[in-house]
Amino acid sequence: MSGNSKVKMGEQDRKLIRLLQEELPLVSNPYEELGRRVGLSESEVLQRVSAWVDSGVIRRFGATVRHQRVGYSYNSMVVWKVTDPEAADRAGEIFAGFAEVTHCYRRPQFEGWPYTLYTMVHSTSEQGIGQTLEKMKQASGLQEHRGLLSVKEWKKTSMKYFSEQEGQ
């Protein structure tokens, strides 16, 4: 039952989600440990987590690696000039096939900004970014792009869903 439908969550589900997006206990039996903290048995935890993984409610499960530390030190947010939504969608599908592209979205156009396709490109070298962009141009037929070089990271964190302090 994957898809985009919103899933109803009870209070125990919310508690479990809160813990799962914190740190998984690095012990032999982490699901039993999580169950102890939220008042569920190990099998109830396993059942819920499997269902969420299978249905796509959990998008990814495992370690999030600081990519600068595993060699992928170079990244660039690159926006592509394409104003026709259908042409943007065609190019978007092509870009999604590139291993070096981790994020690809179409977003609205606005005055003075004809760039509707947003990509995040990663590489182990600055040269590598340039080479990937060249390949992306050839594959998509799009010509104009702009790199929005990041000069300072002010914040980078993981979203905490169902947190008690979040504004409603």
């Binding site: 997006q21 499960f61 370690a63 599908e93 993981s158 979203m159």
Partner: protein, 162 residues
């Protein structure tokens, strides 16, 4: 920190996605790596302590949990005002990423909130700051890809984030 060895690289590739959902998940992975469960747990703990692993847990699909997300671009004409605006943006728990970028739109942040009203409220508050000339709400109209795992490169220790 010291360079990653070949086993670290294999461990990292294995634990980034598809973590097993079973009674002894680390034992299962250790079996595939042909090492002991304890050795794997020790490696993972060390990779976390040294900061290579930023977090070990689940990433949820915001839409499936009923949340709304967007990307916001902000034009702050005087760069001297950037830190104040960036600090105001950072103060919201709904802001997950906030970067200064080389462009006339020089601050870009992502928002994930429990509803559209909250998104608009935050954007209006930041947009009304006197230092801000223009603010653009750029929600995804279509998602082609979102993926954030990387193959580890053995032998690289990597520097700190810029």
């Amino acid at each position: 920190m010291s360079a990653l060895d070949a086993l670290d690289a294999r461990v990292l590739d294995m634990v980034q996605t598809g973590f097993p959902v079973c009674e002894r998940p680390f034992a299962e992975l250790a079996g595939e790596l042909e090492i002991d469960e304890d050795e794997l747990l020790e490696r993972v703990r060390k990779l976390k302590e040294s900061g290579v692993i930023r977090r070990f847990g689940a990433v949820f699909d915001s839409r499936r949990l009923g949340y709304v997300s967007t990307l916001v671009g902000v034009k702050i004409p005087d760069p001297a005002h950037l830190p104040a605006v960036a600090a105001a943006v950072n103060a919201y728990p709904e802001v997950t990423h906030n970067y200064q970028r080389l462009n006339e739109y020089n601050l870009w942040f992502t928002l994930i909130a429990a509803g559209q009203e909250r998104i608009e409220e935050i954007i209006a508050t930041i947009g009304n700051m006197p230092q801000v000339e223009t603010i653009r709400n750029l929600p995804a109209l279509r998602l082609f890809k979102i993926k954030a795992d990387f193959k580890a490169v053995a032998g690289r220790s990597g520097g700190d984030a810029k």
